[in-house]
């Protein structure tokens, strides 16, 4: 076992027998816990699974020709839809912002309450919990499962095992199937999938996620956390002695030992060594060994221990969310103090508020029309036969609205400048009007010509676009290059 022991309450163990190079997995039979944290976990599981399976079916009206799925990553149409928000590929920084927020949120919650993510919200935990629930339905609780596994194969054992794996596979397929609903129209793909007309990628991803769900939640379980997941390693850098972790309060529990009814509690700890905390642990560890890499902080040992403490009429909370500092201070006879507001929690919170605020500001203030001007880099300028200097540009008009537009174009800011758009004729008044398609990007090439004596080195001009219907005005300041310095 690779174990990081911060506080060792045990005496050194005797020298073990020679080690094998490879370790066989020890099957873990977690016992069903009852208590407030188990209830919280059931609720969290129902909510998270409900979100995952049902969100693709929500609709959101957006107008003709635009998907009406509330949450959709539309790769073919190059759009990401999230209820009222529509993200274009060039706005992928919102995704980056979301990931930074998620990472900071993880840091914050870890520095406050330890591995809350691992214990309650990580898909590995949620689906493993669901799979264990199925396992329990077919094979019974811990003791019954251990007995069943020890028995030779029989009809009773066979149907329970087969039934469990079939239900696991069905859940796995529903998980993989729900994943692709986020990338296609859910109602459409749910039909075409079963008549073999969905895209190949849909079958691949459904297949891959079916396999990983079945393998990771059914057979790998705690090994995913201890061997595959980087988070247990990273969390050591994010947690500290003030973080509320699931903790065995050795100051109160030691010395431990069996306790008979009616015996005195004088001179001994509250831990009666009933090992209930070990039996309910889905990771197969003993929380009394202190903070460990394997511990996902699911708090089921708290439920198990509280139940026993009530039975023996001792106060609950022998295992509880507590900090290393508090336990150590109590052990030293000092009053405990909790510090949720620390430099790192303040820093994470401030950063989160700042980034969320920036993103919200950006989302609220973005328009449906964007003007981008790309100046030709080659050639930087052209000298014409009459000596005038001309620059070439590409104009990109991004129209995010569902309506076509017509924009007039003019340029100001340099003496004697002339504007000319390839393929567009100016009308009698010399006005240039550009049609802009809906929901897309239109490109135009245009040239600006300036008399020989008006241009010297780098200059600037302003491009003005005005919507002929609404009068909406867009400007863009652009540079002009000419020979000289």
């Amino acid at each position: 076992m690779n174990r990081v022991t911060l506080i060792s309450s045990k005496s050194p163990p005797p020298a073990p027998p020679p080690q094998d190079l490879y370790a066989k997995r020890k099957q873990i039979y977690p016992k069903l816990a009852h208590g407030k944290f188990r209830t919280v976990k059931w609720i969290a599981m129902a909510a998270l699974l409900g979100i995952y399976y049902l969100v693709p079916w929500l609709r959101w009206e957006r107008g003709v020709g635009v998907p009406d799925q509330a949450v959709l990553a539309d790769f073919a149409g190059e759009r990401f839809f999230f209820f009222g928000i529509e993200i274009w590929p060039q706005e992928a920084y919102y995704m980056a912002g979301l990931m930074i927020l998620a990472a900071l949120g993880l840091f914050l919650v870890t520095s406050l309450f330890g591995r809350v993510w691992c214990g309650y919200a990580c898909p590995q935990t949620v689906w493993t919990d669901l799979y264990i629930w199925v396992e329990r339905a077919f094979e019974g609780d811990r003791a019954a499962r251990m007995r069943l596994d020890a028995k030779p194969m029989s009809f009773n054992k066979l149907w329970r095992k087969v039934g469990k794996h079939i239900v696991w596979l069905i859940i796995a397929f529903l998980t993989g199937g729900a994943f692709i609903l986020y990338f296609h129209d859910a109602r459409m793909i749910a039909q075409t999938f079963f008549i073999g007309e969905a895209p190949l990628s849909a079958y691949w991803f459904a297949g891959i996620l079916t396999f990983t769900t079945y393998a990771l939640a059914g057979t790998m379980r705690e090994q995913v956390c201890t061997y595959l997941c980087p988070w247990p390693r990273i969390q050591a850098a994010l947690t500290d002695e003030h973080a509320l972790n699931v903790t065995y309060r050795y100051d109160r529990g030691e010395p431990r030992g069996p306790h008979r009814k009616g015996e005195s509690w004088e001179g001994r700890g509250d831990c009666i060594d009933c090992k209930q905390c070990v039996q309910v642990c889905p990771m197969g560890i003993d929380i009394r060994d202190g903070a460990q890499l394997e511990c996902i902080h699911c708090a089921l040992c708290i439920d198990a221990c509280d139940q026993m403490m009530k039975k023996v009429d001792r106060p609950t909370g022998l295992i509880a969310y507590d900090t290393d500092v508090a336990v150590a201070r109590r052990a030293a006879g000092l009053p405990t103090k909790y510090r949720l507001i620390r430099a790192r929690t303040v820093l994470y919170s401030v950063l989160m508020v700042a980034i969320a605020g920036l993103m919200a500001w950006g989302l609220l203030n973005r328009g449906t029309f964007e003007v981008n001007v790309l100046k030709d880099r080659s050639p930087p300028y052209v000298r014409l036969s009459d000596g005038n200097v001309r620059n070439g540009y590409t104009l990109k008009l991004v129209n995010k609205s569902g309506e076509t537009r017509a924009m007039t174009l003019e340029a100001n800011g340099m003496d004697g400048m002339e504007l000319e758009v390839v393929g567009i004729e100016a009308d009698e008044q010399g006005r240039i009007t550009l049609p802009v398609a809906s929901n897309g990007v239109d490109r135009y090439r245009f040239f600006v010509t300036v008399p020989e004596d008006a241009a010297d080195g780098r200059d600037h001009f302003t491009l003005l676009l005005q919507d002929t219907a609404t009068g909406e005005l867009h400007g863009n300041r652009t540079s002009f290059m000419a020979p000289g310095d």
């Binding site: 076992m1 690779n2 174990r3 022991t5 060792s8 050194p12 163990p13 020298a15 073990p16 080690q19 094998d20 190079l21 490879y22 370790a23 066989k24 997995r25 090994q223 061997y227 030709d376 880099r377 080659s378 050639p379 052209v382 000298r383 014409l384 036969s385 009459d386 000596g387 001309r390 070439g392 390839v422 393929g423 049609p435 490109r443 090439r445 040239f447």
Partner: protein, 295 residues
């Protein structure tokens, strides 16, 4: 690992590897056994992969590499992708073939398609000499300005791309020949100096020796005006450049112009109909026309 340095880490009861860095020891935890099985599985996979996919390189006497049961070949895959792209574009491509160049330029959809494919074809075939965006280089005309040797019309540009310039294998190529006045002994060195003075004065340059320029003007009228015109404005039917606009394909310095008169230039451009299909040439014509010099 030998037995003699077996060291047990006290808090965990796990063997260490015996390595130590500043008091920190490396635990020698056993790997999970399934990890080992996955390694075996990758070996088994590699055997299957070698059977199904191309794997072994050409061996002496075998000619080529093994093709594998799947018959996978990147060359074939690329050819298929090119073919599927062609068929995807066939509609717009066919429209390019039937539409006139003017129609392509005024139809938004066709124009964007022609510009996109023209730009990439220009980068592959033309930019080597004419530069990115047609910026030109010494000896290779700038396509982005409004000065043309032969013509800047859509049809004219198409004709030039198809048949090239002084590409002798093509009977329809654009052809003309300037004599090498110095090398072939048509003019004396002093006479060439005089002509160069006059030619430079045509685009408004100041000339040091007015007498020399006057002599040059007479020689110009006799020898050069046939093609370049009495006023030096050139003649596009023979690809004779306008000498009055201060745009020089082969350089506008005194020595450059002297060299041109002495040796002649008569540059060459290949006929691209030998290498490119009609659709691509039309797209190129529209693209070059849009670079800024279009007439």
């Amino acid at each position: 690992m030998s037995e003699h340095h077996k060291d047990i880490d006290q808090p965990t009861g796990v063997e260490t590897t015996g390595h130590e860095w500043d008091g920190i020891k490396e635990l020698n935890n056993p790997l999970p056994r399934w990890w080992l099985y996955i390694w075996y599985a990758t070996i088994a996979f590699s055997v299957g992969y070698m059977v199904v996919m191309p794997a072994l390189p050409a061996l002496p006497g075998l000619g080529t590499n093994t093709r594998g049961l799947a018959g996978q070949s990147d060359r074939i895959a690329v050819a298929e992708q090119v073919e599927s792209l062609r068929s995807q574009r066939s509609e717009s491509g066919a429209a390019l073939l039937t539409a006139s160049l003017e129609e392509i330029e005024t139809d938004r959809g066709l124009q964007q398609f022609a510009m996109a494919s023209g730009e990439s074809a220009f980068g592959d075939n033309c930019a080597t000499c004419h530069g990115a965006g047609g910026r030109g280089a010494k000896g290779y005309p700038t396509l982005a300005d409004d000065s043309w040797l032969w013509t800047g019309s859509l049809d004219g540009i198409q004709q030039t791309i198809q048949h090239g310039i002084r590409h002798e294998e093509d009977p329809e190529t654009r052809f003309s020949m300037m004599p090498a006045f110095g090398r072939d002994g048509l003019l004396e060195r002093q006479q060439i100096d005089d002509v160069v003075s006059h030619v430079l004065s045509l685009s408004g340059r100041e000339v040091a020796d007015e007498a020399s320029r006057a002599r040059g003007a007479e020689i110009f009228a006799a020898q050069c005006a046939t093609c370049h015109g009495q006023d030096g404005k050139g003649d596009r039917t023979v690809g004779a450049p306008n000498l009055t606009d201060d745009i020089w394909v082969f350089g506008g310095e005194y020595d450059d112009v002297y060299n041109t008169v002495y040796n002649a230039r008569n540059a060459h451009m290949p006929a691209w109909s030998e290498r490119l299909d009609e659709q691509t040439i039309k797209a190129l014509a529209v693209y070059v026309h849009s670079l800024g010099g279009g007439e």
